[in-house]
């Protein structure tokens, strides 16, 4: 009796349904957020400090921000062109379908572009300073770690928010064609912003740990892709890991709604759940960055791996021995310098045992796979008359050739892209240019050094090329 009484009262009082007050609640939340942002501006100012002002100014003045925005707007227009209906008579049904297609395609394109750019924006925040050797000066000022981390983070958030707001004029044009599905679109944009925040915080964390920007960017991409791939295998988690899966799950929920039901509560609930995951993730990584900023100032990503040691026994007088653990040498022993010191430097200096061993094992495995596949394809084609199997072997071989060739192109290109600019960054270019060596000789050493460092890839590509040309003669139609 007692349990039925309140429900009776509730029915009699005609409480508004959630769908009725949800838009009002949303508007109120936006107004409150804006007002609090304005009223608490001094607090934000204290939180992010002067670094924010300087960095925001510096980032905004870069020409690449403008270029990226133009390219993004062009990409959105191309998406619009691709999904625009081609039917001769554009009735309401066709335009509704177009609105749905465009909002989906827009959300996916926006998420892809913003998430692709996020690591590039954020992963250089701290490691750029380390590369320019200005990080020590920054740490020796009276700025706190909080001001440095939050200032650099906030200054990079705003250009990304600009990227999300950029397509608004294009979306305004689509209103002329019957409008777009606004709840889906807002859900997609909110998920993109939240994902960019958490990914940006993670990139910031990688930047704090790394000594150079490129490994920080690579690590951010690698781990983010790995996490998304893992969560894709677990359906309940995938809608929380990336905005595209989130958008698809919201679409599924909205498709199940009746026409009379409002989509707003469903969207708000989904966005709130997504926000909790990503805001907590962003906060955690910013906190870690804050804690590790000074501790990791002079160390790289690999310093997190404990340095291997080995026991060395010394024979002392009187039959006594002394066992001491000494660190294992991590750099390759350098060979003797022969004719060209420059070429010697470009070839051998900086190679580590860990990296060299990893490359040796990886390329040996790939080379073995190429040889085995090639020999089997040749044997099956010419002696066993198994044309179909031989054809598949050759197809795999061609795929391996393409992968190795892409690696070779990128490896040589990136190696050479850092050849002169790294000297400039490390302030050794002046010494190099002051030496009595011709400029052609310097460039030649850098050129051949880059190719020498990719010698393993060159050998495997050569093998794959030979076996592909040999196996490419498989005559399936014969």
């Amino acid at each position: 009796m007692c349990s039925t009484f309140p429900s009776f009262r509730l029915k009699r009082m005609n409480w508004p349904q959630p769908s009725e007050f949800a838009p009002l609640l949303l508007a109120l939340a936006i107004v409150l957020a804006t007002a609090s942002f304005f009223l608490l501006r001094r607090l934000w100012g204290r939180l992010v400090g002067p670094v924010f002002v300087y960095e925001a100014d510096r980032v905004a003045r870069k020409g690449r921000v403008f270029l990226v925005r133009v390219l993004f707007a062009a990409a959105i227009l191309i998406v619009l062109y691709a999904v625009f209906p081609t039917a001769e008579h554009l009735d309401d049904r066709v335009m509704n379908r177009f609105a749905l297609d465009f909002s989906n395609a827009f959300s996916i394109a926006q998420a892809a572009v913003v998430l692709f750019l996020t690591p590039i924006y954020f992963a250089g925040a701290v490691s750029d300073e380390k590369e320019k050797r200005s990080f020590d000066f920054l740490l020796s000022t009276r700025l706190t770690s909080r001001e440095i981390v939050f200032g650099k983070f906030a200054s990079r958030v705003f250009p990304l928010l600009g990227m999300v707001l950029l397509p608004l004029p294009i979306l305004a044009i689509t209103q002329l064609w019957g409008g777009i599905d606004l709840p889906r679109l807002l859900a997609g944009s909110a998920a993109t912003i939240l994902s960019a925040l958490s990914l940006g915080a993670f990139a910031m964390f990688c930047s704090t740990l790394a000594r150079r920007t490129l490994p920080a960017i690579g690590t951010t991409y690698g781990i983010a892709i790995f996490v998304v791939a893992i969560t894709l295998a677990v359906p309940p988690l995938d809608s929380f890991s990336n905005p595209i899966s989130f958008q698809l799950s919201v679409n599924d929920k909205l498709d199940l709604l009746d026409e009379a039901e409002s989509a707003t509560p469903v969207v708000i609930q989904a966005v709130a759940e997504y926000a909790i995951v990503h805001v907590v993730t962003a906060g955690a990584f910013l906190l870690f960055s804050l804690l590790l900023l000074r501790r990791m100032a002079g160390r790289g990503l690999f310093s997190l791996i404990p340095r291997p040691t080995m026991a060395v026994t010394y024979q002392l007088g009187g039959g006594k021995t002394l066992v001491v653990r000494r660190p294992v040498r991590t750099h390759m022993p350098l060979p003797g310098m022969r004719t060209s010191p420059l070429l010697w430097k470009e070839r051998h200096v900086g190679a580590t045992v860990l990296g060299g061993t990893f490359h040796d094992v990886a390329w040996l495995t790939l080379g073995t796979a190429v040889v085995v596949l090639g020999v089997f394809a040749f044997y099956l084609d010419h002696f066993a008359n198994e044309k179909i199997v031989a054809h598949w072997f050759v197809t795999i071989l061609r795929g391996l050739l393409a992968v190795c060739a892409i690696y070779l192109m990128l490896g040589v290109g990136l190696n050479l892209a850092g050849s002169v600019s790294r000297e400039r960054e490390q302030q050794t270019l002046d010494s190099l240019l002051s030496m009595p060596i011709s400029r052609l000789e310097i460039l030649r050493a850098k050129w051949f050094g880059a190719f020498y460092r990719q010698r393993r890839a060159l050998i495997v590509v050569g093998l794959a090329l030979a076996f592909t040309l040999l196996g490419g003669r498989v005559h399936l139609d014969a």
């Binding site: 250089g124 490129l214 061609r398 192109m409 050479l416 002169v420």
Partner: protein
């Protein structure tokens, strides 16, 4: 036959682009990102252009005049599409590493004239189409080679003009 040459030219192109970016750019990150964006951009733009030209191909496919035409197709639009596709290094390697008679799901090679009723004629037709694509890929690679040589020359000239910082400051009268 053309594959090693085309692949070597593409690697040379990436290397020379990296070198000129290294000489021109102020930071390594900017040089690296510009290089990666350029290479990814080439693949994306050629893929997009090929995608845009797809409707033309479908229109051609249903064209009765096309279906009864004899010999290898040297239709301008078809050649243009092939040329755009061969500008994509990955697609060029993939196409050039195919066996001349390999069964392929690519519709280009299935669009044979209807008048070819014998197997030998069909084989000959496929071979000619593949040779055409190989020649186009070679010309596209020569374009890359041209660009690579220009990049190398520009990098050398720019690097020759570079002065140590102390000398630059002296020249500017700052010291």
């Amino acid at each position: 036959m053309f594959l090693p040459l085309v692949l070597a030219i593409h690697v040379l192109f990436a290397a020379s682009l990296g070198l000129i970016l290294s000489v021109v750019c102020q930071s390594t990150v900017r040089a690296n990102i510009t290089l990666v964006f350029t290479l990814v951009g080439i693949v994306a733009v050629t893929w997009l252009a090929g995608y845009m030209l797809k409707p033309l191909e479908n229109k051609l496919k249903t064209d009765a005049v096309y279906a009864t035409r004899q010999g290898v197709e040297w239709d301008d639009r078809e050649v243009l599409r092939s040329a755009i596709q061969m500008l994509d290094p990955i697609r060029a390697w993939w196409r050039l590493s195919e066996s001349p008679t390999q069964v392929d799901d690519d519709s280009i090679y299935d669009r044979r004239p209807l008048s070819y009723d014998s197997y030998a004629s069909l084989e000959e037709h496929r071979l000619k189409l593949r040779l055409r694509d190989a020649v186009i890929a070679l010309f596209a690679a020569l374009g890359y080679l041209n660009f690579a040589l220009m990049c190398l020359l520009a990098a050398f000239l720019r690097f020759c003009r570079a002065q140590p910082q102390a000398r630059r400051m002296n020249l500017a009268g700052n010291v």
